[in-house]
Assembly symmetry: C2
Homo-oligomer: 635 residues x 2
Amino acid sequence: MALHKARASVGLDVDAAPDLQAALLNAANLNYDFVVTNLVHPRYRQEFIEGKAKHRSCPFTRADLILSSQDWSSIVVGKLSNYINVDSICPSTRENYEQQLLQELAYASHLGIPAILLPLKGPKQTNLARTIYSKLTGSQSTEARYSVWMQVPMKSPKAISNCYRDTGNGENHEDEEEKAWENETWHWWNYFRQVADFNKKIGIALEISEDLPSHAAISRWLGEPIKAFLVPTYLFLTNKKGYPVLSKPHQQLVKNLFRIKAQGIITGSLRHTSMKHYQEYMEFLFKQSISHDPLKKFGQGYEDYLQYPLQPLMDNLESNTYEIFEKDPVKYREYQNAIRRALQDKSKEEKYDGKTLVVTVVGAGRGPLVRASLNAAAEAEVDIKVYAVEKNPNAVITLQLQEEEIWGDKVTVVSCDMREWNPTELTDILVSELLGSFGDNELSPECLDGAQRFLKPDGISIPCDYTSFLAPIHSPKLYNEVRSCREVDKPPHTPFEMPFVVQLHNKMDLASAQPLFKFEHPNLSTNIDNSRYKILQFQVESDATLHGLAGYFECTLYKDVMLSINPATHSEGMFSWFPILFPIKIPIQVHSGDVIEIHFWRKISRTHVWYEWCVASPSIVAVHNPNGRSYSIGL
Amino acid sequence: MALHKARASVGLDVDAAPDLQAALLNAANLNYDFVVTNLVHPRYRQEFIEGKAKHRSCPFTRADLILSSQDWSSIVVGKLSNYINVDSICPSTRENYEQQLLQELAYASHLGIPAILLPLKGPKQTNLARTIYSKLTGSQSTEARYSVWMQVPMKSPKAISNCYRDTGNGENHEDEEEKAWENETWHWWNYFRQVADFNKKIGIALEISEDLPSHAAISRWLGEPIKAFLVPTYLFLTNKKGYPVLSKPHQQLVKNLFRIKAQGIITGSLRHTSMKHYQEYMEFLFKQSISHDPLKKFGQGYEDYLQYPLQPLMDNLESNTYEIFEKDPVKYREYQNAIRRALQDKSKEEKYDGKTLVVTVVGAGRGPLVRASLNAAAEAEVDIKVYAVEKNPNAVITLQLQEEEIWGDKVTVVSCDMREWNPTELTDILVSELLGSFGDNELSPECLDGAQRFLKPDGISIPCDYTSFLAPIHSPKLYNEVRSCREVDKPPHTPFEMPFVVQLHNKMDLASAQPLFKFEHPNLSTNIDNSRYKILQFQVESDATLHGLAGYFECTLYKDVMLSINPATHSEGMFSWFPILFPIKIPIQVHSGDVIEIHFWRKISRTHVWYEWCVASPSIVAVHNPNGRSYSIGL
């Protein structure tokens, strides 16, 4: 069950195989990675339904000596008896099932298997959730080590039987029922995992249905912690050559499931020439699931991995950080376009008399914007003089080397904080790349307000404006990632009150991103105030959970030359920025039609800038990060 | 502003008194404890409404040298300007008001006043809540030290104007509107404090209205952290002697407010012969508010004070703990009644031949039940022999002393754990007092199951059964008390996953208590199982917040001789048990008509017993105390 490898992980459900050793060998020969098998033989069921159970040593079919502990712990997923019902309304039945469940769980621990599979068969399985949850918490020594895969059908049995019903009684009504059924099993899961406090060892084994639900319902599943998915053999069609294949929509779904690192499980009896072909087909879909989008490729391995945002004003970047970002194929091309257009416009002005234009690059780093400026000047056929202002002494060395060896007189390197530099001449164009994932979050507004004093009255700032964007998201995965950032010596709210830069992946968007704070440069107002406060409202389309806010930005470099990481307008192929995530302390249940209201503040003190946020609707979550107590950006 | 004293704390609102020193002296002469006064003179308002504010040094009327810092910090409550509206939809107005608010707050900090008073004038004051909250959090050094009293009207201005309207258009409609208005200002407050994360420095200064709302609405206010209440002089009637008095319902309200330790504030102009009389009248109501109920008297000073439940099986009680509980005027009288009735019944049995009956007291402590047994036998004119079994060696000394000096042959003291003692003869009546506030929570079931082996087949256990009870409650006060029990070296959930014994006081009941787990003795089933699981549903009558579950018990000593701390059936005058509180990790908003569904478990391992609980409706809060990770009772 290796999770990170370049091929699919596919298991075979061998049910209650009479000879487990042989079944394992067979599965390995067929190229499967693991098997799924019952821990208890189904014939022992009777005992448990008829009153108090008696003999407890016999029902386990799998004496632990059959396999080596290495095998048990790496290639066997244990199925729990599927008739167990610890939420029965009959107390004695419930107690008997509870005993059996505890016994099977103890046996799974004893065997050391990596995961157990058990079915979630209805709504409000409170006692089941409690029992599983209690096994996964407690002290290090007593805590169960297996993962729990809850087998959840994509459609409830009711919805499936409905497919074969006469549809005479009105389309609309049918649609609504359909929707309710699409929601139904997700609600089973959503209830279960809430009772179990979103425990990260509990994931989903999604049972893929013959009829697939709507796009929205599938998106929601893809926002869940799906660890495995079950593909019954009856879902496979037969192609012209006699091999098993899936329908197009099923193919798409499987590829998306592979992308969120779920493992496949083939269940059911053979309906084609060999079980081997199902595995081969899954492998084929896995290969197709690998993305060739440069942005996705760049983000590979970083999916849902939380990073603390850079504080370039406080910290100096390292050389390889510069190197990575300089490789962006889109960003500097667009900067060059913007500078060229600005130079062209400047050269068309009446007062322009063919003399040299001054371009100042603030935060020049290792020089990519200096190069972009020089290239742009060549394209525009305009003479320019470039000042490259950089505060990081390590980067200045690289700049000076290029000044001496390549650029010569055209470029003057200034080793200075842009807020302190006193230029000898004013500049026509001020170029900067100070934006963070949330636009202003690396204090571009404050820096450029400080630097604009060396801009001529009619000078141009590139970028000339930028706007942050926010969207509410559902992501138990990210909620758990944030939760696990807790440090013992800090209050429990700390990780929930800071933004993280993260390649958002295993999540669902609850609504499209909306613009939040806009900043323009140069800022000509007499009383510059970069603090902000805005209220955003998002209409929710489906039942889900609000776990956080995804942050993006859009930026106008010059006129219609834009950079964007807002999904709706994302600059194609640009990978310099991952989104930013603002967590929410308490997951909020939202329903289709609800309005999520977010209040967001940008606050400023003499020494720091920080954000605060709160949820005002549909329920209230207190202000996050009051007074910047958990996170702030140093000026 | 001394909070704990035997007289009322009453302040006088002197508004923007031209000479504060004189106003203070005058208030002191009139016997008032503190004054409430504006920090900024109202005439400076204009400046703030017309665009950006300019001169900021002048508007503060109260140069800090007027009073000594001792006076500022003890007898002045500062009113903030009541026209400040930082939630204005107009950004520039909002920003100006925000500046003014910050300035007034800074001035309040500078003066070192103990509390500020500011009006909550409408719904959804998000930005106001954020601003206040951010002043109250942060590092020890920057945190504001004043308390914040939010002035909340009992009825919204709309409701008040409605009183004078023609009531022609249907009673029902009026009723509903009335109810909405009763709710309205509470919702203002409920929103505000949620945004401010239930910060315990933020309390209410309740503006008492002329027409009082319903009983339910008043109860809800009394469940809130009311720090002060405002009594406008126009509320006072004039009695025959010309003195100011309040109507009966207003009197009752004021007394209840004094009981939850709120301080009175007289506002408005003089309408009687002297301001002194209002203070005297408040003093009079305060004296009337002091309860003479023994239970209340016993609980005085313990209101809402959390105590860890006793673990008498693990720990030995101290002598003064025994002493306190032996003073209960009701408990031992009822035990004596029960034992007498049981002895009488035993002596009427056919096989009884006048011989001595055996009574065994398990957990005899310092002997109160031994005395009750001997008294009961005397009343019933039956000969008995008493075995007094006690595991605490310190208590055994006291027992042995009484055996020697008073009881003689009639009593045999056994220094032994009841679970280990092997008696030489079986007993007719087994008497115990092992109940905790939640009935079984001190492991009475396990102890008595162990002790029942020395009971004759037809023997009687006193008590013969007991049942725990649960009721959902609203109490921001208790929520904050639990929250502040957090210990740095334990997870943040720990205090929310353990019960506390507490004299519940500043709270509202959301529904009547319902029976939970019942235990009967002797327990004659072949397979004794003291684990339990039950689902309770409570219908909620008003909009409120669920903060926890109050726990009680009812107990049958023998036949109709009962002990109860369930409020509906509480044994009059019995003070041996305070209720128990099971907290809820996340406060849940509930609405009139909602059903609160609670799942509750009693779980048992080889060494421990513990409870787990979760909320399943109207929203879900994960299982508390899974596997007894935060709290369990040692066997």
